[in-house]
Symmetry: C2
Subunit: 341 residues, 2 copies
């Protein structure tokens, strides 16, 4: 069923039918009603390609997911982010297009996306400290919103991010207040902007309290469970082990917990743990009382909001060009005063 058939069936011109369907004023209300009824009854939906060609809009948003060829890793937050964004898209009649791009061919990939013209805007995932994609997208004149920031980018762009620095500064300070002095940082890859900021926050709190920093207590890797386990094992087996861990992801924190339990160490008593918690749907941080003390911020919410920002931008009703969310510091049972030496 296409427009032509529908309008023949109604004995109206395509123009009128099209206008009736798209809510233009210059069509009689009775006619409009008739058209709308027929359309829904005959199950007519306009062909998206044709509509896109004619309007120059594709009514789709692209999500470009960086894939490091070595790891074949998918960030576990991805599902929740996308589900949040998807909700906004549905409400506004947009489709969501996914593209996985290996680091090395980012440039061509983005250019191609622009040229192919099947998205009206892009959400940029996983920005690095220095991220060439931003300048590229500006050059291409493609609307985009970055989930995160890119510290070393001079350009102005629209982003939504959580206050990673402050969150980790607060968390570190909280541990220091509990008299911990050897606090380990199990971070994400520090070429990633968020991880870098977290480290800055961590270091700031240490420095503020005059505590020394120890490179042996800082790790930076892809945030898997095994990474948390391995790091914790190695650190706990050091002569002078940390009494607290600050961790960038709940998956990794679970690995750390495993290492603790394996050693008969009690979390919140022998060793304290704070993790960042993206509030993932399948991996909630406990129910009533949180398992982990955590810096929490819903990534689903961030997805929803970044989608909204992008749509506003595309439809020229943009006002807010950046959005910094504060993470909550929620206290669970994984932290407690440092054990006396």
């Amino acid at each position: 069923m296409n427009l032509k058939q529908l309008s023949n069936h109604l004995k109206l011109s395509q123009t009128t039918v099209s206008r009736a369907l798209n809510g233009y004023p210059e069509v009689n209300e009775n006619t409009r009603k008739r058209v709308l009824e027929a359309a829904s009854q005959l199950n007519y939906s306009p062909n998206a390609r044709a509509k896109g060609l004619a309007t120059g809009k594709s009514m789709a948003i692209g999500h470009v997911i960086p894939v490091s060829a070595q790891h074949e890793m998918v960030n576990p937050i991805f599902g929740d982010f996308v589900s949040g964004a998807g909700e906004t898209y549905s409400e506004n009649g947009y489709d969501m297009m996914l593209t996985l791009v290996a680091d090395q061919d980012e440039e061509t990939a983005y250019r191609k996306i622009k040229a192919r013209g099947n998205v009206d805007g892009i959400i940029v995932h996983g920005p690095k400290l220095t991220d060439s994609r931003i300048d590229l997208l500006i050059e291409l004149d493609m609307p985009f919103v970055v989930h995160g920031r890119a510290t070393n980018s001079g350009a102005e762009f629209t982003w939504i991010d959580i206050n990673n620095r402050r969150a980790f500064e607060r968390a570190t300070r909280y541990l220091i207040d509990l008299r911990h002095t050897r606090i380990a940082l199990i971070n994400g890859l520090e070429e990633m902007d968020f991880a870098h900021r977290r480290r800055v926050g961590y270091l700031a709190a240490l420095e503020e309290s005059g505590l020394p920093t120890d490179p042996a207590l800082m790790r930076s890797e892809e945030m898997t469970e095994v990474y948390g386990y391995r790091s914790a094992c190695e650190m706990l087996d050091m002569p002078n082990p940390p009494t607290a861990f600050l961790i960038s992801s709940i998956m990794t924190a679970i690995g750390v917990r495993r290492a603790l339990e394996e050693r008969g160490l009690q979390m919140g008593k022998d060793v304290s743990v704070i993790t960042h918690d993206d509030d993932l749907s399948y991996m909630k941080n406990g129910s009533d009382v949180p398992i982990f003390t955590a810096t929490r911020s819903s990534v689903r919410q961030a997805g929803k909001q970044s989608a909204q920002m992008l749509l506003d931008m595309i439809n020229n009703k943009a006002t807010q060009t950046q959005c910094l969310l504060e993470a909550d510091l929620i206290i669970g049972s994984s932290t407690g005063p440092a054990p006396q030496a």
Copy 2:
């Protein structure tokens, strides 16, 4: 840069340029080379919408993710599945389109997808025991591949699935061989086809050994960590607790482990645990020695393969219409002989 501009620039007709780019034989090799060079130099990529309109193909595959409105849950396997599929798509020049659909408006959603015509085929996620989508898609004449099966569907359709029944039957038998007699099943929602099959396998093994089934030892819910924790707590606090758990997801298994540890029970000694393991990238089941004894099958691989099956189907070189993968039973340290009463 569009075809017209490109062909003007080359002083050739659009026809010739189009043919040169699409590898048709009726164009001089020198001309073709000239065209190809200019295209890459001027960064020309054909407009996907226009191309789609002209060819009737959209070169995109839709993934339709069911979202239960209450839970707002995203299956954690989703990211890995999609990343596997995405790889196949990239290799073949296909895009991936994501649609989140709430259960109640499935029918309209699928009809709309068909009518809008921006995908050439669909991957169906999370099939239920009885799933109306299958008949609908057949009626709509839309190529599709189901990730999983739908037991109660009479129709013939293309699917890829793991042998859930056998996997859980083997796992249960393994536990029985270890002299466990009270084996709990912490399953996914049993309206889901995979969960139903797992239950059938579990029951078959029990029956085969003449062991009684106890409804108090069987749960069926959305597979979160908290669900595992809560179920295990409740069961362990029963007068006659299970000595072994069979669990449908590694996330849930982690919750069970948390409950065990909280009670000072040692996994693999006091209580045995087997879980299904989708081999998620960020949640590997340990490194050298597996944390959990598990029935393992890579969901990333399944994603890759289902994408391939669908593309083959669309391009008429389909041969294989169903694919049953066996899960490995890998032995970790979470299982051991049942403790003597």
